[in-house]
């Protein structure tokens, strides 16, 4: 046993799969501890409600307005300094055109120097002047340009007042800055929000947890049923075998996904919680475990060590537990891993069809896909609402399958090259 485990952990494929899977598992356990709170709570109301907010760092306008305790003293800069920033090439051309039309001498003036140009402009510009060869619309453009240039230096401060009258009215100058860490409510949204304003990362982590639990519950149910039926059918044989194989065949003939859809549909919207869906998935996916356990048991039950156990007077239960089960244990573990992976995928597929868990209290990977699709995240280019989900589903499935392949190579050395 110890030896087998050591061997398993020497398989690079298994180890890679194991590390990825447990990384995801740990994330789903640790992240909620670091960032507690309801993952499905709206954390964010963007400028326009009901739209996906892209990833980024956001801070509350309210807090931003109320947290100007420190002034970074931007007045040390001259107005011209600030203006230099705002002369565009287009404005420059227009300024030079007006100045030349008014026959202002530009000799010795570096027109690429914004400060110098602005000084000449301010000294010479006259709204009422009518330079030759300039149309009215061109003159109006210059007027607008002038007011732009003037206002950029001295915008009127924003007045912020609270409804509470004891608080003084506050002026906020455009040149007031505060460090980000002084703003009380800063929200970092590495994966943005969905259309309900919910933090996608937080939602995703909680969805991973729920989906893994669904996979585990469904996998345990399917493997247990498959194992018990397979053992009974293979070892006891006779009528028991006939009955179990009849049921198994019925379940095999009807594609289990169709069955899943029908059952989930008939359960109804209200009763369909995440765990109910997990149980239903488990109850419909045991057939191939049964079949393969049965065939393994049939090849084992005539082995001489089983015969020896019979001759030693051991009970049927003991023979199954000590002489059959250990031989198929590795196989059952592999089947279990695949069951988990396929259950997670089944849940995602069902939810995409709108037949997954019908809950607004918990998120699952499938539900997140469903929500993203319902609110057209894919049409609006809101990739953050569904790509990470797809990535996680793929990663979970990949890691589980990798673990399975690794186990297969250890337990069935014939596949080793």
């Amino acid at each position: 046993m110890k030896n087998t485990i050591r061997q398993v952990f020497h398989s690079p494929k298994f180890v890679i799969g194991f590390v990825i899977f447990f990384g995801i598992l740990l994330l789903s356990i640790i992240y909620p501890l670091v960032h507690p709170g309801d993952p499905l709570e709206s954390v964010f109301i963007g400028s326009d409600r009901g739209s996906f907010t892209p990833p980024g760092t956001y801070f509350s306008l309210y807090d931003a307005a109320s947290s100007f305790r420190t002034n970074l003293n931007p007045k040390s800069k001259t107005a011209a300094d600030r203006a230099t920033i705002s002369i565009s090439d287009e404005q420059r051309v227009r300024m030079i055109t007006w100045l030349t039309a008014m026959e202002v001498s530009l000799d010795g003036v570096d027109t690429t120097d914004d400060a110098a140009l602005l000084e000449i402009w301010k000294a010479n510009y006259d709204e009422s002047a009518k330079p030759k060869g300039m149309t009215k619309s061109e003159r109006n453009a210059c007027k607008r340009l002038n007011s732009d240039l003037n206002s950029s230096g001295k915008e009127s401060p924003l007045k912020v007042a609270s409804e509470d009258e004891s608080v003084k009215i506050k002026d906020i100058d455009p040149m007031n800055y505060v460090p980000v860490n002084q703003v009380r409510s800063v929200i970092r949204l590495p994966l943005g929000t969905d259309n309900f304003g919910r933090d996608v990362l937080k939602e995703l982590v909680s969805a991973i947890g729920t989906s893994l639990l669904i996979g585990l519950v469904a996998g345990v149910i399917a493997t247990l049923i498959g194992l018990v039926f397979g053992l009974l059918s293979g070892y006891v044989g006779g009528l028991v075998d006939d009955i179990i194989m009849f049921i198994t065949n019925i379940f095999t003939v009807i594609p289990s996904f169709i069955l899943l859809i029908l059952i989930n549909y008939s359960i109804g919207q209200e009763a369909r919680g995440a765990m109910v869906v997990a149980v239903v998935i488990g109850l419909t996916s045991w057939t191939w475990t049964t079949r393969s356990v049965r065939s393994q048991v049939i090849s084992l039950r005539n082995r001489d060590h089983v015969n020896l156990s019979k001759l030693s007077g051991h009970s049927l239960f003991r023979i199954v537990m000590t002489d059959i089960l250990p031989y198929i244990a590795s196989y059952v573990v592999m089947a279990f891993i695949l069951q988990i992976s396929s259950a997670i995928l089944s849940e995602a597929q069902l939810s995409l069809l709108g037949l997954g868990p019908s809950t607004t209290k918990t998120a699952t990977l499938g539900l997140m896909m469903n929500w993203a699709m319902l609110y057209s995240a894919h049409l609006g280019g809101s990739w953050w609402a569904y790509f990470p989900v797809i990535g996680v589903i793929a990663l979970i499935s990949f890691s589980l399958n990798l673990m399975n392949t690794g186990l297969d190579q250890v337990f069935n050395p014939t596949l080793r090259d």
């Binding site: 001489d304 060590h305 015969n307 001759l311 030693s312 049927l316 000590t322 031989y327």
Partner: protein
């Protein structure tokens, strides 16, 4: 030869222990039917050492599995202690198995590879009602049983079956018999992997045990020389049928069936004085 004939006894008057009439087993694989055992009649007596001799594939193992109740016969009737054998329920089967033991042909598949070999021997002690014996007593019994088959228990304890050689496994299987002391023993080529030297000693120990407890031994082998050396009576099996049977001297010294003659002529030293080292 003088040595062997002296131990040979006539059991034809002894009460019947296992008897078969028209015992048959067919195997169906696809459309092909293999007549592994084809209407054989036999009568084994209590305390007798019977050898079933036949070449590979003649149906010896199949017959022994039927005698053990591990394989259902296609046709025919087996009698146990004079009465038709009834193993229709699990309880009756368990009762039947309490008196019959076997050494299987393939030692590699005879062990549960997940259990240490101590388990195999402890099981035997428990079966004989020694469950509550002190640990030292159990160890002593196991050591003794192992010494009968030239094994050192101290070297084997806490090992797993796959750590043993084929011959060691076979000897361990025989050691079980020394602990169990069954009424009937079905030994399917029990010494095929054991070197000639140990083989003679082990067989002698087994014969001694048989004399002590009056065990019936059904010995299956393809080695007619070995069968002649140890048996009271011999059944010659060819293609699922018994072609010849009777007392060992009668069958070997005066063979009737051509198959028996061929088998005997294949053994070079059959008419010479037996030398234990060639057995």
């Amino acid at each position: 030869m003088s040595e062997t004939t002296s131990t040979r006894r006539d059991f034809s008057k002894a009460p019947s222990c296992l008897k078969g009439v028209g015992v048959t087993r067919y195997f169906h694989t696809g459309k092909i039917t293999t007549k592994a055992v084809d209407h054989v009649d036999f009568d084994f007596h209590e305390g007798e050492l019977v050898s079933i001799v036949g070449e590979s594939g003649s149906g010896k193992t199949t017959l022994s599995k039927m005698l053990l109740g591990l394989l259902k016969e296609t046709d025919g009737q087996i009698y146990y202690q004079g009465k038709p054998r009834d193993i229709s329920s699990r309880a009756k089967l368990k009762e039947y198995w309490s008196g019959i033991q076997a050494i299987f042909q393939d030692p590699f598949s005879s062990f549960n590879t997940f259990n240490k070999i101590d388990t195999v021997l402890l099981d035997c002690i428990n079966m004989r009602g020694g469950k509550n014996l002190p640990k030292e007593k159990k160890n002593e019994m196991m050591t003794e049983a192992c010494s009968f088959v030239n094994l050192k228990f101290a070297e084997l304890t806490n090992k797993y079956p796959f750590e043993l050689s084929g011959g060691q496994m076979q000897r361990l299987m025989i050691a079980r018999i020394f602990l169990l002391k069954p009424k009937i023993l079905l030994a399917d080529e029990p010494t095929s992997m054991i070197d000639a030297c140990s083989r003679a000693t082990i067989l002698d120990m087994l014969l001694q045990l048989r004399d002590e407890i009056g065990m019936t031994v059904i010995f299956i082998t393809h080695d007619i020389g070995l069968a002649y050396y140890i048996s009271d009576s011999i059944y010659i099996m060819e293609h699922g049928k018994f072609v010849e049977s009777g007392g060992a001297d009668e069958v070997i010294l005066h063979p009737q069936a051509p198959y028996t003659k061929r088998l005997i002529s294949d053994v070079p030293k059959i008419h010479e004085v037996w030398d234990l080292s060639t057995v």
